[in-house]
Symmetry: C2
Amino acid sequence: MPQFNEAELTAAVIRSFDNTPNPRAKFLLQELVKSLHDYVSKTNLTFDEWDYAINFLTRTGHTCTDIRQEFILLSDVLGVSMLVDAVNHRDRDGATETTVLGPFYVGEHKVTAHGTDISEALDGERMYVQTRVTDLEGKPIANAPVDVWHADGDGYYDSQKPEFLTEGPVSRARFITDADGSFHFKTILPCSYPVPTDGPVGEMIKQTNRHPMRPAHIHFLVAAKGYEPLITHVFMEGDKYLDSDVVFGVKDELIAKIEKRSDATMPDGSKASAPWHLMTYEFHVKPGEGAPPAPLGTKPAKVSEPAE
Amino acid sequence: MPQFNEAELTAAVIRSFDNTPNPRAKFLLQELVKSLHDYVSKTNLTFDEWDYAINFLTRTGHTCTDIRQEFILLSDVLGVSMLVDAVNHRDRDGATETTVLGPFYVGEHKVTAHGTDISEALDGERMYVQTRVTDLEGKPIANAPVDVWHADGDGYYDSQKPEFLTEGPVSRARFITDADGSFHFKTILPCSYPVPTDGPVGEMIKQTNRHPMRPAHIHFLVAAKGYEPLITHVFMEGDKYLDSDVVFGVKDELIAKIEKRSDATMPDGSKASAPWHLMTYEFHVKPGEGAPPAPLGTKPAKVSEPAE
């Protein structure tokens, strides 16, 4: 008959997974039991705190919809998402650094002509983006599809708005690199914005005196054939949240220089009616395999107010 | 600018909680970050595994209703609930051992006369339960309310059935101890039963080749004034799952001797129409404070089939 003290209880729970057929699942579960039990023992977790945790997890689950993913947000603000990214990209060999996919990769990336203003419908300071994809030796990679997406001037992605389904994507496109590995497009200068704060994760952010802001960035997903898919952001230099991104996604080399320009024409000869910004960035991908991640879905999320 | 390797990332996430006003919350969150990050690093968690975890947690949240608590079940089958119980009851000083409250303490415990058959409506072998509540010196405790609840012959609690709301409690009552600290009642001999297996936690139980069974038991909650509330089960000796309770709740001293009897009358003089069982158990409570836990709710749960 069992008569458990703490150590015996933990050992019994670990043993209960001994017959798990999949060895990796067995390892992950037994290590999970060790970690959870170690946490409860070293913190002397009270019943009220356990209740709070059960309730927090339940509310987090209930906040998840087809398109809003509060558990991913929780993983993001606890730095777990970036750590998973880190342990899976230990050797970059000179390839561009990676960062989190984020919850707004929802599909609808239509192949778009170079030079297109992907935010034509939006107000904002114009930015000309010129980029290039090369291998680790600097050799250009042609015909690589690159998905691009970013938030609008209020900090919302198109997929967070009901118009997304009827009117289609905004600030979201796919470009195919030319013979030189290059592509260019126009958009607005992105702004820093808060992650959703109207759920349990936002409550935690507020109660711990953290801010909910992400520095301004553009998402890029480079899916060149024969190369590892590159999931990353490019951040705008000078943003005040670069040092304190709420999801810990910033890396030095992902910060692009943004030049303020007042030339009457942009590099592709198109006319500029007001001062504009020039963003230049080069992606380096490493040989490898792997499919790019599946989009999360194409249904619009509930529209919620950005905090502060 | 941050350029995180794994250790720097973890340190940055810990620092992000430095301004948490509540010192205990700060400690719990920073230790949580350490534990989670340590888990990801030591397992080299893959993106697919992280996806599986996000999906599992989301489905667990979506399985929770007003009365079904899949996160408590997850905590139970990972031994976390019993460990929280253990770290909060390190010094028993001779008091009766505690065990988990479980998800079926839903209120509706009406004061009931000693001797009542609380399962009159149910088929099953009859059992006469005689119990007594004393302090640590064996002095009887009078006027103590004791809540009692257990499953029916199919393994369901009344609160899992729609009749609960209209027809009221079955196998669920409150007794008040007499001058001798005693109370007695009749019921059916409880049986071992599976925890719900139609949700994500049940899926985990199956995939890891564990069984979902709990050995037969009756729940008791002794709430004597001036004493620590005692939340426990009493298990039926001989049950084949005593050594492998899916929630790790069994302790030696919580196993009651059950005597088979064929006397024509029970100890209180009432007539027995068939052989019956006699369960005898004594509870010892320690001086202290604390309110008994609030019932989880009184709404009926979804009815689901017990597994195997």
